[in-house]
């Protein structure tokens, strides 16, 4: 928040009509444990990448579930797959596979677009 003054705040409405939930559905189909995530943030707290950059798996998973994929696409490749998040997850979500599947899904979409 380094800018002060008056501005029109951005729209914060989640538009489920326009959002594409196909990637979230693809992931939960292949890795059912994605569904049981309670967004507690243990993964983000222990993250190796999160130590260097504002990367938060919790945020990305929430965005994925909402279908706001743009930010996920830009950030998901930052993960080092070290697996700490999987170990600390209280719900037993296979986070490494969730991330791999998300990467795969985005890459497939790149390939199909070209």
């Amino acid at each position: 928040m380094d800018k002060f003054g008056f501005a029109i705040s951005q729209q914060r409405q989640i538009d489920f009509e326009a959002n594409r939930r196909d990637i979230a559905e693809y992931i939960s189909e292949k890795e059912p444990s994605f569904r049981v995530c309670i967004e507690c943030g243990c993964c983000a707290a222990t993250c190796t990448t999160g130590n260097f950059t504002p990367f938060s798996l919790r945020e990305l998973l929430i965005l994925l579930k909402r279908g706001e994929n743009d930010k996920v696409r830009d950030n998901i490749n930052k993960c080092m797959l070290c697996g700490k998040c999987t170990l600390v997850c209280p719900r037993g979500v296979n986070t490494r596979n969730v991330i791999s599947l998300a990467r795969e899904a985005f890459q497939d979409r790149i390939k199909n677009a070209v």
Binding site: T46, K78, L87, R96
Partner: protein, 632 residues
């Protein structure tokens, strides 16, 4: 000239397979890299030639390694392979000694009885017939076990046997037909002429008592020749291709060729050397703990041979390397799986018959995706100067008690060191490699390499076997890389670390990446023996179990991991030790959640045993003695 039309199928098959084996070997040789070609030439005309011959005799014929694993299975393989070999050898000699001329065509030996029905009446000839009959009986006994194994695999002590494709079944049937048809054909001929020894003779005379033996023999000689011919022609399309390929593999391996991290002709040779014996299935923890029976290495190699999409198989593996140790052919299964993981998704291609006889090199190339580098956010590293650097690794940061113990040990020993990832470092890269993302892993490797090289260190100590393996194999560092158990062993040997003996019963769980992955077995045990009463388990050294927490497998669920961990922990703590020791933070975390026994890293045990008066006051520090909370 002795000739009969029934020998034609056999001759076609025999000459086909001989020419095919030569052509295929030449193709493989051509595809080897330049260095490997040189290695093979040196190996073939050098000292390792004798060693290779010995190995061929011990493994390809006698199947010594299978005998070690399972006696009944070993007998089955030996009776078929060695029995058949001796039958051919003695048959050739028989045709040479007793036949009309010397140096006969192969078919003369195979169908000797048909062309010389009067042979074997008395004297030396009868002794020879007895030997031939005995060998046939040995083969038939093996065949009976093989048939029983196919139907009820448990009888031969195997829990699972491999599933077959239709073409495999045709080849298998023709293989099974060879020896019974030979028995019946020889028996009828013997019965008609009143010759033959204890097997063919008695069976023949009994058959001849109520059947027209002379007329009945001929169709069975045809059947014998046809099944031999069919088997030889189908051999390259089926798993029996391992028979000729294994010879090539043994020569190549003894010449010093290894899989490495690039797919090539050697990977291809290994893929075809697998006989689908199914020993890897029995060794696999996914099989005996969780009941997953379709992803083992035999199936992976079979899938690769048949150009199937094996991505799901390749990724569903703990990468513990138990099957590598058990494989009787000595195929480097885990490295092949790593290569396959890099290839990712491949399409199933149905090949024409000709293409299947001469397949292309299996494609291991990943799909090219234009992506910007993923890790450009990493900060530029600041140099720290030290002789010894300590790299804890991600997993050690997750188990602070190990990290604290290591700091305590390093401080107590007076070594000048720097903790390079004290505030959380970058991952070593192996988890990415295990996920098949080598290019991304390289970025992390470069980052860490720079950090380590800038420090000017001579020794790198790490607490995590996963990091240890990748530092040794994939980093191009010109320094000594030590796991903390090796480092502690050195400190004890030098005398710079004084330890108390703790009267505690300890069993040691060898982590996969440290033991089978890097070959470090003795140092951790020596350290444990120095400070505690180390006990034996059924799963020591090469036979150690995987804790189930492996980063290698992303496909199995949390529940399945728990089951594997509980199973492994139960097997290890059978004799109720006081401490289940390990040397991997990941193993510690996984096993601690699965057992009541106290699980501790070697570093923790050693840190507790340090006898230094100036550390006494630190022991009262509650931060150091509180048992780490189990988060899972």
């Amino acid at each position: 000239m002795q000739f009969d039309p029934f020998i034609i199928p056999f001759n076609i098959g025999l000459y086909f397979i001989l020419i095919y084996a030569v052509v295929r070997s030449v193709m493989w040789f051509r595809d080897l890299s330049k260095q490997d070609k040189l290695r093979l030439q040196r190996g073939f005309f050098g000292r390792s030639f004798g060693q290779s011959l010995k190995e061929i005799f011990m493994e390809s014929l006698l199947h010594r390694k299978i005998f070690k694993t399972n006696f009944r299975l070993g007998y089955m393989h030996m009776s078929l392979a060695f029995g058949w070999f001796l039958l051919i050898l003695f048959g050739t000699l028989e045709a040479d000694i007793f036949g009309s001329s010397h140096l006969n065509a192969p078919y003369k030996a195979i169908f000797f009885k048909y062309f010389n029905p009067d042979h074997g009446r008395a004297g030396f000839e009868a002794v020879w017939s007895f030997v031939m009959d005995f060998l046939l009986a040995v083969i038939l006994s093996g065949l009976i076990i093989a048939i029983i194994k196919r139907l009820y695999s448990r009888i031969v002590g195997m829990k699972k046997t491999t599933k077959l494709r239709p073409l495999d079944k045709v080849a298998l049937t023709s293989l099974w037909m060879i020896f019974p048809s030979r028995l019946i054909a020889e028996s009828f001929t013997s019965g008609a002429y009143g010759t033959g020894s204890f097997l063919t003779g008695s069976l023949g005379s009994w058959l001849a008592s109520f059947l027209p033996a002379h007329e009945m023999a001929y169709p069975f000689w045809w059947l014998y020749s046809l099944s031999l011919g069919t088997f030889f022609v189908l051999l390259p399309l089926t798993r029996y291709m391992h028979i000729p390929t294994e010879l090539f593999l043994i020569f190549a391996r003894n010449s010093g060729i290894t899989t490495g991290d690039k797919a090539g002709a050697f990977t291809d040779i290994q893929t075809y050397s697998c006989s689908s014996c199914g020993i890897c299935i029995d060794a696999c923890q996914l099989n005996f703990s969780t009941g997953i029976t379709n992803i083992q290495s035999a199936y992976l190699l079979k899938g690769i041979r048949n150009n199937e999409n094996v991505k799901d198989i390749a990724f569903n593996c703990l990468m513990c390397g138990r099957c590598d140790q058990k494989c009787p052919v000595g195929i480097e299964l885990t490295p092949i799986r790593m290569l396959r993981r890099r290839a990712g998704e491949t399409e199933h291609v149905e090949k024409s018959i000709l293409k299947r006889y001469f397949p292309d090199k299996p494609s291991f190339n990943p799909v090219k995706v234009s992506e910007k580098p993923s890790f450009d956010f990493l900060p530029s590293s600041r140099p720290v100067k030290a002789d010894v650097v300590y790299f804890a690794g991600c997993m050690t940061h997750l188990t602070p008690s190990i990290r604290n113990s290591m700091i305590k040990i390093l401080d107590a020993s007076g070594v000048k060191y720097k903790f390079i990832d004290e505030n959380g470092g970058v991952c070593c890269g192996r988890p990415l490699m295990l996920a098949g993302q080598d290019k991304e892993a390289r970025e992390l490797i470069n980052f860490n390499s720079k950090l380590i090289l800038k420090s000017g260190a001579q020794t790198l100590v790490t607490s995590c076997p996963i990091c240890y393996k990748v530092f040794r194999e994939s980093y191009y560092l010109d320094i000594e890389v030590l796991h903390h158990t090796q480092f502690i062993k050195n400190l004890i040997d030098e005398g710079s670390l004084k330890l108390n003996f703790m009267r505690k019963k300890v069993v040691y769980h060898t982590p996969c990446d440290l033991g089978r992955g890097s070959g470090v077995y003795d140092e951790p045990r020596d350290v444990l023996r120095y400070v505690s009463r180390l006990q034996k388990t059924d799963f020591d050294n090469e036979n150690s179990l995987c804790c189930g927490g492996s980063l290698g497998n992303m496909k199995i669920s949390y529940k399945q991991k728990q089951i594997i961990a509980a199973d492994a922990a139960a097997r290890l703590t059978k004799d109720n030790p006081e401490i289940l020791a390990t040397s991997c933070p990941l193993c510690k975390k996984t096993l601690a959640a699965a057992t009541e026994t106290k699980v501790a890293d070697i570093a923790e045990i050693v840190a507790e045993a340090i006898m230094l008066p100036n550390l006494m006051k630190e022991k009262s520090n509650p931060m150091l003695i509180v048992k780490e909370p189990v988060t899972i």
